[in-house]
Symmetry: C2
């Protein structure tokens, strides 16, 4: 269905008509100048992220539903990263003119799934058009008790450095998707060249054959067998609210925390510079999935570099007092990768062969190049 | 200065280093996964707006500082439109690769001015790149006492309909700017044709003269004498917090309210459909500035249509019980333009010659065309 047949208000109505507030804090959602919320005796947390086509996602290999899921989830992840409870999101979306009502519905379906998973209400936003590609901006609101909030600046000397899950997998997923995209365009190019030749030769039989080939190329679903985990990590990241809950249940309170969106190395720089400290992390302790390792080998890439600088894993990086060592040890999926030092000792990676390399904050920089 | 020389974190640091929280509700701003706010015993209001290059603004005639000012101000306006007090904004900005650090600073300078005017803190956001033009998404957070909030759905039969300021001026400002842009490109086209002819003829003297002419065209500052008000209304709208304050001081509590961003006619449709009522408004009572009227004549446009459907005036539209008639009468800049009726009586404009025309909600639809 064409979006202009519905108009802005018709489209918003269609996208939001099944949205029912689930949180007591959500007093009024979609349909007025503002959403209205109430947080008695709590601190309000707010975060915002913008996803631009061609920079943060490529519609050639990103299904719209997963894009919506990711746009909501990365914001929800930021609330957990402060040890908060996500409650509402506000969605601004600029729709490219190529898109249909069904396309926008697919994006919203993904956002609703991500929100349902963490009991978050969609309470409003802005729907408009773009001349030049899709843009999605999501703002997430949550709450926390004042004493529960974990900032980046609270790490202390001797604290343990922990990460959840595994690192580098979302980045390797991206490499695979980019490779498939290159192959796809090569095949289309080859086809176009063959068509030109056949047209020049006036060969109708050949043209018919080529058209059938093109359909095959277009319909081809790449086989990601053995790489499904990496593709999922890139396209459909999960916020680690489960870890936040597990830490709370055990009474473990991190001293500093953030989510890993730009890469472990870059995030460690944030925590260390804001906490005025240094760190040592151990290469052999960095959690890496088997698929990540084998794909790195296949791509002839350095595994530790992928894990340090890959980004988009949306795992949690946090520090805890050293006394929590044992209580953490039996928590599944949490890895102690090093410890906090004096600021003067700098930030270093200790390699498997006991060399020390200074950690670079190269991260993922969308403003470069 | 080139943005890639600073990198994302360097740029954010430069843009935000002079930002100091002014509101007690702002506990923690830029620099972590989330901003942290506290609103004891208040309702939290949140609104979000996205401005896309080529759709909402044209950089040919929009100075970047004014663009930043407008991006912040239209969100602040939404908080006032609920009878709230704006407190914080979160800014997501996708920067086109053409732009320099100074360009982004100009946008932020404008946002800071708008925020300073209403004592609003900038508490965070996201800074990234765009392949295809500038995109700005602003989320504004405010508060209100539960009983003070004014929704769109509270209008009652016999309520008076009021608007602040004057209408249609922002729209006529846009017409003037668009005309200047057309003239500018015509002159550049003419120049290009003359250059081609001179190059063909090998006429060096003529080419030199043409180059001087081009500089003149490029340096030409259009003369908006007598239209300054309209240009300002389009490029630098003001939120009507002054009116909100004046109503409070007089103890006048609107029954329904919103700001006029899409045009009076479209906003009346929102209020009437959400309040399940109809309305009569009087053409002769719609406030119109002298410059708007004379420019409409110049452009051969219908003045009432411009005032009804123009949009972007960011004036307030509100309803009050009929008993407030006299208390409102001596408030400068507030115009009683009609009254609320039963839903079955529909929504009509009563013209100067006492005809009735049904109000169309054509408004400004960025999703059309």
């Amino acid at each position: 269905m064409d979006i202009k047949d519905l108009g802005e208000f018709g489209l918003i109505d269609r996208l939001t008509k099944d949205i029912q507030p689930k949180n007591a804090s959500t007093l009024y959602g979609v349909g007025d100048d503002c959403a209205v919320m109430h947080y008695p005796d709590k601190e309000v947390l707010v975060t915002s992220d913008m996803l631009m086509e061609g920079i943060h996602f490529d519609l050639v290999y990103t299904p719209l539903e997963q894009l919506g899921y990711k746009a909501a989830m990365v914001n929800i992840s930021d609330i957990f990263a402060m040890n908060g409870t996500p409650q509402q999101i506000i969605v601004s979306i600029a729709i490219d003119k190529r898109m249909t009502v069904e396309d926008v519905e697919a994006i919203y379906r993904g956002m609703k799934k991500a929100c349902a998973k963490w009991n978050v209400d969609i309470v409003g936003g802005d729907t408009t058009t773009s001349l030049t590609g899709l843009a999605i901006s999501v703002t997430c609101i949550g709450y926390a008790d004042k004493n529960d909030i974990v900032y980046r600046h609270g790490a202390n000397e001797t604290d343990l450095i922990c990460v959840t899950g595994d690192l580098g997998s979302a980045y390797m997923g991206l490499q695979i998707l980019e490779r498939e995209k290159t192959v796809y365009y090569q095949q289309i190019d080859e086809y176009n060249n063959k068509v030109k030749a056949a047209q020049k030769a006036g060969d109708e039989t050949e043209l018919k054959k080529l058209r059938a080939q093109r359909r095959q190329v277009e319909d081809f679903e790449p086989d990601f067998a053995g790489k499904e985990y990496l593709i999922d990590r890139q396209l459909k990241p999960e916020a680690r609210g489960d870890v936040i809950e597990a830490l709370r249940q055990r009474g473990i309170h991190p001293t500093a925390m953030m989510d890993i969106s730009d890469g472990l190395s870059s995030e460690l720089h944030h925590i260390c510079s804001q906490s005025h400290c240094g760190c040592r992390i151990y290469e052999k302790e960095i959690p890496i999935d088997y698929q990540t390792a084998s794909t790195c080998e296949e791509f002839n890439m350095n595994l530790t570099t992928a894990a340090l600088n890959g980004g988009e894993d949306y795992e949690l990086l946090f520090t805890v007092p050293i006394g929590d060592h044992e209580r953490l040890a039996d928590l599944e999926g949490i890895h102690q990768i090093g410890y906090i030092t004096k600021e003067s000792l700098g930030m270093y990676l200790v390699t498997r062969d006991d060399n020390e390399f200074e950690l670079q904050a190269q991260g993922w920089n969308p403003l470069k190049g």
